[in-house]
């Protein structure tokens, strides 16, 4: 017996054991998805096609002035990179919601969620493992989709401050998964994960300004948009790479807002998730779906 396997409370896992469980969950999911290369390829293709829709529509309706009109409306004439950033951040957001929500729903439907609750490993440990898997999968496919998309449409993917853009993504991921946990709680409660996630990913895409600046939204909607971390993440990446302008004028001010989200959103997500869990355990039980 080693010290790391001993716990302060009988039946409670140590930090090392929790970490090991989370990593095992990540590994399990990565092995599983590696068996579906077609699905992985599709994840790279989808954001490119999705960004191509407004690109083709805009080129056809805007004609020769398309780039100039786009610059007047958004602050950059590089609409290819602008739209690809939007579709890839959207892809990251969708992945976060789907992976967390679908994990819970899958366990519910296959009847293993109750068994998971009987193990000494907490669901939050497992959720962290799923989140790590989701980050690895989402980030790699989004980065690849952005680079390939830029190359297909013949623009330079590495213009602007790439490191700062990556910084905005890294800082934005934690609050994003905090939000995903909130939706995990909703799925536990209302069960219909597909409907909830489908709707929420579009609500967030609309609010974060997937293909347009949030300044075109009505003032009330704009305020709600600023409460969503993906809005700051998208604008931060666009400003770092394309110079469209930070919300507060300077990158560090916008980054500070994301840091604030990073501290608050995961804690809030954990709190809501645990409360929902306890409420369900006390009432109908987690086995019902």
């Amino acid at each position: 017996m080693t010290i790391t396997t001993q716990s302060s409370q009988p039946g409670q896992p140590t930090l090392a054991q929790s970490l090991s469980a989370a990593l095992a969950e990540t590994q399990l999911r990565l092995i599983n998805i590696s068996r579906y290369p077609g699905q992985l390829a599709l994840e790279i293709v989808i954001p490119i096609i999705f960004a191509a829709m407004p690109m083709l529509l805009g080129r056809a309706t805007g004609g020769e002035d398309a780039a100039a009109n786009f610059a007047a409306n958004t602050g950059t004439a590089n609409y290819v990179a602008y739209l690809l950033i939007g579709s890839n951040v959207f892809s990251l957001v969708s992945n976060a919601f789907w992976h967390i929500a679908y994990w819970l729903r899958f366990e519910q439907e296959t009847g293993t969620l109750e068994a998971v609750y009987l193990t000494p490993t907490s669901t939050l440990t497992l959720a962290s493992g799923v989140a790590l898997y989701s980050i690895i999968r989402g980030l790699s496919s989004s980065l690849l989709a952005y680079v390939i998309g830029c190359l297909i449409f013949q623009v330079n993917p590495f213009q602007g401050n790439v490191l700062l853009a990556l910084g905005f993504i890294a800082v934005g991921l934690l609050p994003l998964y905090g939000m995903a946990l909130l939706f995990g709680a909703v799925v536990l409660k209302v069960k219909e994960s597909n409907a909830v996630v489908n709707l929420m990913q579009w609500v967030v895409s609309f609010l974060m300004g997937i293909f347009f600046p949030v300044t075109v939204l009505p003032p009330f909607v704009r305020v709600i948009a600023w409460l969503f971390p993906p809005t700051w993440m998208t604008n931060g990446v666009r400003s770092a790479l394309l110079g469209v302008g930070y919300f507060f004028g300077e990158w560090y001010a916008d980054m500070a807002v994301l840091w604030a989200f990073m501290l608050v959103a995961p804690l809030f997500g954990f709190w809501v998730f645990q409360r929902t869990e306890r409420s369900i355990q006390r009432n109908e039980g987690v086995g019902q779906f």
Binding site: N73, E192, I210, F211
Partner: protein, 283 residues
Amino acid sequence: MPDSPRLLRGPAAFLSTLLAMAQKELMIMLRYPVEFVASFGQIFLIVTVLTLAGLMFAPRDAGAEGNSTTAGIVVYGFILFMFLSDTLWTIGYNVRRDQKQGTLEQLYLSPASKFANLLSRIAVSLVWTGLLCVTSAWLMSTLIGRLPAENLLPGALVLLFALSGLFGAGFAFAALTLRIKETAQTLANLLQFVFMVLCAPFFPFSALPEALQWVARLIPLSYGVDAFRSLLLGLPAGYPELAPLEVEIAIVVAFGTLMPIIGYWLYRLEEDSARRRGTLSEY
């Protein structure tokens, strides 16, 4: 001497089976109110997002007319995209749902018409997706300005034939689902994206590179999108884009008439093969 077991034959029995099955499908749909409301919100948001994206390419002083044409291109293309998506999932992939739930084999043991079973899935698509399309078009008109809505009757006829063809394609996809099983999910996703590019539901065909425009011309549904959109936009200069209107209508009518027959024939072939192999309930 007791009567021999009776099969449910004849038009009355077929209609009764179809109604009962359509009622069952609609009842299942109503039992998921969150999904019901969420799908409406989702449609509205997708159309809004794409329309706003299109407007980013318009001059700032573009009038309401320019905006409503852009919205018209997106909304009318989106109507056909919605039905295609619904066809692939509700008609095609739903066979898989029955397999997973273990009810497909039981359905085949009953004396009810198999065609009615397949056809009943169209009911949900027509009722719910139709309602969604009308409401989202109305909402977009309220938000952006009146959508161009010319030639309503010919437009509706083109839509009718295009939908008939789509449902036929749905039957064919159901046949394919019986064969390829879970891979059908990835294929349905892929087909949706192929349609999004080649049938140009969200942008004019002229935006496609020349080579892809020729590929688009090989897909009958492209003519459905083009004719439907052009008619409702009031046949502006340059529309329809793929062929003269009469040619497009002839292709759409042929597609709407032949595809259901071909699709159902393929489904029966695959169904017989699955029964012989004993794989109908396998998943």
